[in-house]
């Protein structure tokens, strides 16, 4: 019997797990997927919001405002890239000016400092590529950008380094109450835990209803995005929002932490909770909506489109509480925007809930809050680069030329705790395949490195989930064992000239 089982390894589950790893608790983190951060965490805007959006008094407002300032120290400890580039909510009409003023007042009531309404001239000097119908904007300097999956991967790894057990491909099929706690049943066995924390994203209501009477429901709302090549990332300096309407925050544009331009999302309620298809009409809508912000967005530079699902609760607010009917079962549900921003504060709150329920938690002296540093090879000085190559020559081999990723970085991403096991897992951690060629050149190389490091055959390497096979088997010619003599001779001759054995 372990102390705590966390269901769902997105940014919420991983940060909760990492927070709980500070204490003398046996913690397991379960996810139905083949990697951490594979749900909503993998596909969202990656924005750390200032906190003026949510209605005062809501959990969304509270945890947003508490969460935002935690990112500097957290990202420092977990070695995650985070940039406070500030955000602008831009008004393009007089009625929108009213909205900007209302957001300002709401921000002040939520306790957001440093907010300022800036007028057209200053606005256009900050953002010269903004459409010149812009009138004014709400400027929030504390807003930032982050890779949401990067922080989740980092938190999972640091949690695992501090003793959290991570169980992937564990699809929770049932949860039963027992005398001392819960039995969590899945196809790959069962976990017994005194307490369960439900961080299951778009499936959180289903997990809840496995053990407790229905209390809330979750609808998946899809959002679609474009990613543009890095040359386009310099178009804007801030996160640029349009004025929110009844329908939501609207399409935004921002540069990503790695310098791409991100344009999206729309919002569309969908049937089911797994449909991540992009559609032409919605992407056209995103494109049209973004034109209001600027006509200069070079959609010819699109390198990828994607969609993500928001876990929208019928309660309109985050649900973070221990179930009244089922003590020991804690819901962390309905974590839609600003959920990423709120995540570290939510993790603290869950810790406090757990401490309250357990009558206090005992700290582990050996807790190490620091994740082992990641090598971002291209960011190093030339001297450091050469030092590293002398130590490990794999840093001298560029595998992904679009993103300049070395073999050394890929191997490290595979060999870490909660390391990459799949092509997408490597891409998520160190970015080969994220660039303009989308893995056309580096894909086969990454596949071979994965096979080598994991001691598998290349045909066993998958793209993402366990059935997402890439290769179907060897070609016919591989079955020929003895090559004709002439071919061997030519091969040797060539090898001689190339200086390779």
């Amino acid at each position: 019997m372990i102390d705590v089982a966390i269901v769902g390894a997105g940014v919420i589950g991983t940060l909760v797990a990492r927070e709980l790893s500070r204490f003398k608790l046996e913690v397991a983190l379960l996810d139905s997927s083949n990697d951490v951060a594979n749900g909503s965490t993998k596909a969202n805007s990656g924005i750390i919001h200032a906190g003026y959006d949510a209605e005062p008094g809501t959990s969304k407002a509270r945890f947003n405002v508490l969460g935002n300032p935690l990112f500097d120290a957290l990202c420092d400890q977990l070695d995650v890239q985070f940039k406070r580039i500030g955000s602008l909510v831009v008004a393009f009409s007089r009625s929108e000016r009213g909205t900007v003023e209302q957001l300002y007042r709401r921000g002040v009531r939520n306790g957001v400092g440093e907010l300022r309404i800036i007028e057209r001239e200053e606005l256009l000097s900050l953002e010269p590529n903004l459409d010149d119908t812009a009138l004014c904007a709400l400027h929030a300097p504390q807003a930032g950008i982050i890779d949401p999956w990067e922080i989740a991967v980092a938190a999972a790894e640091n949690g695992a380094d501090n003793g959290v057990q991570i169980l992937l491909n564990f699809l929770v099929e049932a949860i039963e109450r027992s005398n001392e706690g819960f039995r969590i049943l899945g196809p790959s066995g069962e976990i017994r835990a005194r307490r369960v924390i439900n961080c299951a994203g778009v499936f959180a209501d289903r997990i809840h209803e496995m053990v407790a009477p229905p209390a809330f429901s979750i609808t998946a709302r899809k959002g679609q995005y474009f990613v543009l090549d890095k040359a386009a990332g310099e178009l804007f300096n801030h996160v640029i929002f349009q004025c929110p309407t009844e329908a939501g925050k609207g399409v935004l544009v921002t540069r990503s932490v790695h310098g791409n331009l991100l344009v999206g999302p729309d919002a569309q309620e969908i049937e089911g909770r797994e449909n991540l298809s992009t559609t032409r009409d919605r992407l056209d809508f995103v494109r049209r909506s973004a034109a209001k912000i600027s006509k200069q967005i070079p959609f010819g530079e699109v390198i990828r489109s994607f969609s993500g699902l928001r876990a929208t609760p019928n309660t309109k607010d985050f649900i973070i509480e221990e179930s009244e009917q089922v003590p020991g079962f804690i819901d962390v549900a309905g974590i839609e925007s600003p959920g990423l921003t709120a995540a570290p504060a939510i993790a603290h709150h869950v810790r406090d809930l757990l401490a309250g329920a357990a009558g206090g938690l005992e700290e582990r002296k050996e807790f190490n809050p620091l994740r082992r540093r990641v090598v971002r090879f291209m960011d190093l000085t030339e001297e450091r680069k050469n030092e590293l190559i002398r130590k490990d020559s794999r840093f001298g081999r560029i595998i992904c030329r679009c993103e300049s990723v070395t073999e050394g970085e890929i191997v490290d991403a595979i060999q870490r705790k909660v390391g990459a096991r799949t092509v997408d897992g490597v891409k998520k951690r160190v970015r080969p395949g994220m660039g303009r060629c989308q893995g056309g050149f580096c894909g086969p190389q990454v596949l071979k490195i994965l096979a080598r490091e994991l001691g598998k055959d290349a045909t066993e390497i998958v793209k993402n989930e366990i059935d997402s096979y890439i290769l179907t088997g060897p070609t016919k010619c591989c079955e020929v064992e003895d090559l004709p003599v002439g071919i061997n001779a030519l091969a040797e001759e060539k090898a001689g000239y190339h200086g390779k054995g």
Binding site: S277, N386, R397
Partner: protein
């Protein structure tokens, strides 16, 4: 900092041909940098035949073709760095590279030849809607996996696009036992060479569906099917015409893009029509002493023309460095693009006129001792009986007949000495003119 006369970036056919030509023109210190572990570039995975028909009057496979240049490189003792990636080039011709043995190094070059080739347009760039399962490959990636790594990529295949690599791969996949359901072309004509359509599709009974495209990819983990729609005269899908095809693999052959990130780092100006550097007749770019050739300049159909162009660049670069030594003409490294062969005055611009997608070279300085000038161009639609006309100063300098032309086949027009003599310094405009029956 190490200094060499010429650094060639890329060890495919373009880079090798340029290096060989530069050495044959008398340049001593040449360094060729290649990121793969062997020379040959994409030719190494092109195990089909059809290479060298123009160049060697022989029908060679890709590796056989490259082998000729690899041998020549060895004979001439041209040094190469393999497994080495160039990270940056500066306008002052310093080349920053990285490899496992030496780490990060900079070499100063008298001249640089850019021969980085091209990359394939991806699913993201053409924005096919649907899910994101495994089983979507570009044709070149599939070709590498099959021909170099020795693995098959699927069993039941739908191919989108009719670029030459795609057509070749439709046949290759069939030979490996896969079923290619169909090859789709968004336009009313195929994008690749007619000879490949015949030899790779018709001869193997692979259906070619013109005016069709994929409007949705389906499948959660692996591709399970695609929705295919007919397209209208603007190549856009016609709503209501969708049909579902079950398949486990989608192969994309939807265009090639010259790889010019390094060129841009050196300040080289690009032509929006080709996606490659603006070059003159010796393949010098807008930056003095930086030359470019092969698919990095414009995407070629045939390697035979790639090596021809690359020899121009190799000789051009040789002229530049030898000239700078006082052997040849005069080079003015400080004033932008100046040919090394004693060219004078403002350049003549070559402009794509009626019906043309692009023309290479885009400008002309002097003739650098060449007896003739070859223009490479593509038309922007299918033409029947037609003329290509080169006009300058209101006069037609050259007119050639074509029985048909299509954008998938690059056209070459040769200006001989007599035509060249008529060039009076005004810009040249090249038109495609359809003639009646």
């Amino acid at each position: 900092m190490e200094k060499v006369d010429i650094v060639v970036i890329g060890g495919g056919p373009a880079g090798m041909a340029a290096a060989v030509a530069a050495r044959e023109a008398g340049v001593e210190k040449i360094l060729l940098i290649e990121r793969d572990w062997e020379l040959g570039g994409i030719l190494q995975q092109c195990i089909h035949n059809g290479f060298g028909l123009h160049r060697f009057k022989e029908d060679l496979t890709g590796p056989e073709f490259s082998e000729r240049y690899i041998r020549r490189m060895a004979e001439l003792n041209v040094p190469c760095k393999l497994d080495t990636t160039v990270l940056e080039i500066t306008g002052s011709r310093e080349v920053l590279y990285i490899n496992a043995e030496e780490g990060v190094r900079t070499v100063a070059a008298g001249a640089i030849v850019l021969a980085m080739g091209c990359r394939e347009r991806s699913r993201g760039a053409i924005n096919i809607p649907g899910s994101r399962p495994a089983g979507v490959f570009t044709a070149g990636t599939a070709q590498r996996l099959i021909n170099i790594e020795g693995y098959m990529v699927g069993r039941r295949i739908m191919m989108l696009g009719t670029g030459d690599i795609g057509l070749i791969m439709a046949r290759r996949l069939t030979l490996e036992g896969a079923e290619v359901i169909a090859v789709l072309a968004r336009k009313p004509y195929p994008g690749g060479l007619m000879r490949n359509v015949v030899q790779c599709l018709y001869d193997y009974d692979i259906p070619l569906l013109l005016r069709h495209t994929i409007v949705e990819i389906q499948g959660k983990e692996r591709v399970t099917g695609v929705l295919v729609a007919e397209t209208d005269e603007n190549s856009r899908p016609i709503p209501g015409s969708e049909e579902l095809y079950e398949c486990d693999t989608v192969i994309l052959s939807v265009g090639l893009i010259p790889e010019n990130e390094l060129s841009l780092s050196a300040g080289v100006k690009l032509d929006p029509h080709t996606g490659g550097p603006i070059v003159d007749e010796s393949r010098q770019t807008s930056v003095a002493g930086i030359y470019a050739c092969g698919n990095v300049v414009h995407v070629h159909d045939l390697v035979d023309f790639v090596v021809e162009e690359s020899e121009l660049a190799g000789r051009g670069a040789a002229g530049f460095v030898l000239g700078a030594d006082g052997v040849g003409g005069t080079a003015d490294a400080g004033s932008g693009a100046v040919g090394a062969g004693g060219a004078e005055g403002a350049p003549v611009h070559l402009l794509p006129g009626e019906g043309l997608k692009y023309v290479v070279p885009q400008r002309m300085r002097g003739i650098n001792g060449e007896e003739r000038l070859d223009l490479f161009l593509r038309v922007n639609r299918v033409y029947g009986q037609s003329h290509i006309e080169v006009k300058g100063g209101g006069e037609v300098l050259k007119r050639v007949k074509r029985s048909c032309m299509n954008p998938g086949e690059m056209e070459r027009v040769r200006l001989n000495k007599s035509a060249m003599e008529k060039i009076d310094g005004s810009d040249l405009v090249i038109d495609a003119v359809e003639v009646g029956e």
